[in-house]
């Protein structure tokens, strides 16, 4: 992921997900940057899937 605030590149799982204290935590999928804590929206599942398929095709070619 690329942080929209500080520009830091990090793995989605490295970010901080839905804080336990938040009453809205079930609906919030935002991922906080480990460097600046800015909340970034994750890529939707279907976008990841498409990218994976495209990457595989490129590797095959």
């Amino acid at each position: 992921m690329h942080c929209g605030f500080c520009g830091y590149d990090f793995e989605e799982k490295e970010g901080i997900k839905g804080c336990k204290n938040c009453p809205m935590t079930a609906g919030c999928k935002m991922i906080k940057c480990p460097k600046c804590n800015y909340e970034n929206p994750p890529e939707p599942f279907w976008v990841k899937k498409i990218k994976k398929i495209l990457n595989k095709r490129v590797q095959t070619l």
Partner: protein, 663 residues
């Protein structure tokens, strides 16, 4: 994990590693051309595998140079020897566990000054380093002249200027790998104060490590857990004294050690590159660099900010999103087609009027809750998040943080507070949680107060801008008044809670043209999150209001609020919007939208209602999070202060508008 200790058996642990070959490890920040260099060196025969125990992919290949076989390893991007992410951890582990014969640090010639601190860390760690100044063709294009031999002389290691994508410099890199001489006879020192601190720690390290003692000492001072564990294990009984010394030094430096070290490294780099980087008078400054400068300088940054707010927020979100699109959806689709149809269907299906009311009545789940969510809130948040994503992807936000840093200091905050403030326009609840990342308790309380008071959420802001755009001058009065309250309350709060001025520093990422795919993906994700969050709440509020209506509780509440509304010069029906607003700010704004559509508010009343509602007490969710983050007493105090300021401001504004007859 014994990754720093000299234990040769660890080589055998490496699966997929060509252990009989001499190893060359490529390291550097992401997007500097490491993988391109890797491909150029290795050709197409590579193996990609997850690094043992992680999901991080590592690519390995073989390169034959002057008849010698080398195993080339492409590591994940890393910024420093002190890892934060799993990728950086893996990159460091490879560096240290696989005992490379050569470490090639690849950096971007255009960002030499920013990336050289990592070269310093590799050199001071005693790693056999070659520096590749990559993308030098682009640096040439913008007029940057880098004196490679001089840089090499000052660093005491081989330095090669390259443009690997164009195969420039590749032969020199290959030659340097084969001819590499690990002897480094240049020492790069920090200030005597810092060197003394490091020496005091390093002298207590009695064992041998794969990194230099200086490097280990610095990592201990930066509280690197892995290094601390290792030293504890390796030093045995000597660890106690060492640990106390480290604690003592950390305490002396307080929280500023990371900053101090980063400044010291910056200073070493500044001295290193003196006369190394040439920027001729005619250096071509790119448009993005110019724009970047304009955005952070007050003289140009403030007008630019106003332009962004006017076109982005007012015209696009307010006039287009909350005006044109809402008009089509709300009036034509919902009021004109959907609501009459669904009302007919429900009335045919359900014979009991009271249950009909629950679905399609004045506060019905469909005719009010779903209509508000789909026809009013959704188009507004869609346009807002689109505008927000464009700004975010362009790299504008960190520049905004720098721009406001000086003025934010007047209200006890720093540029860092821009993060929760900006996020507050999306949702104040999550922004309140982000205030915990601010340096001091004082800053956190001031930011929480200002979020609860003067930062409207996107949907509320959009509806209010759309409503005010219908009365000439109303937006300006609302904007000016909100700004005045924001600064006055912030200033007073900073005086009531005195403390040191917070410090703020950050590295600016480059400004770039926003990418359409990023914008659309981010907008889609945010919209989806917002919509699925508000829909059930809007339905719940409709049920509550329906219950209030059938039990006449709502009527009584409106009656209790009537004197307050009258003192603000507002009709008693406005109380409904305020009651809505307590549940959710955006629901309240949508209520105001309904009142305006019914012609119940003139320009003055609209402006007063908009100001009061924007400043009005935080919604239930925000109040709950304030309680969790700041405690019940502070949350209640903030709630009382905010209510007092909201109604007090509304009262004053009403009187002022009546006297001056501006509206």
């Amino acid at each position: 994990m014994s990754l720093f200790s000299k234990n040769k058996s660890c080589h055998a642990m490496q699966s997929g590693s060509e252990s009989n070959k001499r190893k060359v490890v490529l390291v550097g920040n992401p997007n500097v051309g490491k993988s391109v260099l890797f491909n150029v060196l290795t050709g197409s025969y590579v193996t990609v595998s997850n690094y043992p125990g992680t999901s991080v992919e590592v690519t390995r290949g073989v390169s034959a140079i002057k008849g010698q076989q080398f195993e080339i390893i492409d590591t994940p991007g890393m910024y420093s020897l002190l890892p934060i992410t799993e990728e950086e951890r893996v990159a460091r582990e490879i560096l240290l566990k696989e005992s490379p014969e050569v470490v090639i640090h690849v950096l971007d010639a255009r960002n030499l000054e920013r990336m050289l601190p990592m070269t310093l860390q590799l050199i001071e760690a005693g790693l056999p380093t070659i520096l590749v100044v990559n993308i030098i063709d682009e640096a040439d294009r913008i007029g940057l002249i880098i004196d490679i031999p001089r840089l090499s002389e000052r660093l005491g290691i081989p330095v090669i200027g390259a443009a690997t994508a164009k195969k420039r410099g590749v032969q020199e890199i290959r030659k340097s790998i084969v001819d590499f001489d690990p002897k480094q006879d240049v020492s790069l020192n920090y200030s005597s104060r810092l060197e003394n601190i490091i020496s005091e720690i390093a002298v207590l390290l009695k064992s041998d490590y794969r990194l230099s003692r200086k490097s280990i000492a610095l990592l201990l001072l930066q509280r690197d857990n892995e290094v601390t564990e290792l030293v504890k294990r390796v030093e045995g009984s000597g660890y106690q004294g060492l640990s106390e010394k480290v604690k003592e030094k950390i305490f002396e430096q307080r929280e500023s050690f990371h900053l101090d070290l980063s400044m010291e490294r910056r200073k070493v780099v500044t001295d290193l590159i003196k006369d190394v980087i040439g920027t001729p008078a005619k250096r071509e400054v790119t448009f993005s660099e110019k724009l970047s400068r304009w955005t952070v300088r007050p003289l140009t940054g403030i007008p630019l900010l106003l332009v962004v707010l006017y076109f982005g927020l007012y015209q696009f979100v307010g006039v287009f999103g909350a005006g044109t699109v809402v008009d089509i959806l709300e009036k034509k689709v919902f009021e004109g087609i959907f609501n009459p149809w669904i009302t007919g269907v429900i009335k045919n299906l359900i014979p009991w009027e009271i249950i009909q009311e629950l679905f399609v009545g004045e506060y019905g789940i469909i005719t009010l809750g779903i209509r508000y969510a789909v026809a009013i809130i959704l188009p507004i948040v869609a346009t807002f998040f689109l505008f927000f994503s464009i700004l975010e992807d362009s790299g504008y936000f960190p520049r905004l943080a720098l721009l406001v840093d000086r003025v934010f200091k007047l209200i006890g905050l720093s540029g860092r507070a821009v993060i929760p403030m900006v996020l507050g326009f999306g949702c104040d609840t999550m922004a309140t949680m982000v205030t915990r990342t601010l340096e001091s308790v004082r800053e956190r309380i001031i930011a929480t107060l200002l979020l609860a008071l003067a930062i409207p959420c996107s949907a509320q802001l959009g509806v209010i801008l759309a409503l005010l755009s219908k009365a000439k001058g109303a937006t300006l009065i609302w904007g000016g008044f909100m700004l005045m309250v924001f600064w006055a309350v912030g200033f007073l709060a900073s005086k009531v809670m005195p403390g040191d001025k917070p410090m703020f520093y950050m590295e600016l990422p480059p400004m770039r043209l926003p990418q359409l795919s990023n914008i659309l993906t981010k907008t889609y994700t945010r919209m989806q999150w917002y919509f699925f969050e508000i829909l059930p709440l809007f339905i719940l509020i409709s049920i509550f209001l329906w219950f209030g209506k059938i039990t006449h509780l709502l009527e009584k509440m409106v009656k209790w609020f009537s004197p307050v509304m009258a003192s603000l010069g507002l009709p008693k029906e406005t109380a409904v919007a305020f009651i809505f607003g307590f549940f959710r700010r955006d629901y309240g704004a949508a209520g105001l939208f309904d009142l305006q559509t019914k012609g119940l508010l003139d320009a003055r009343q609209l402006t007063v209602a908009a100001v009061t509602l924007t400043l009005f007490i935080p919604c239930v969710a925000q109040f709950l999070i304030m309680k969790k983050e700041r405690g019940l007493t502070t949350a209640l105090l903030i709630g009382i202060i905010v209510s007092f300021i909201a109604f007090g401001s509304g009262y004053l504004l009403n009187k002022m508008l009546i006297i001056t007859e501006i509206l």
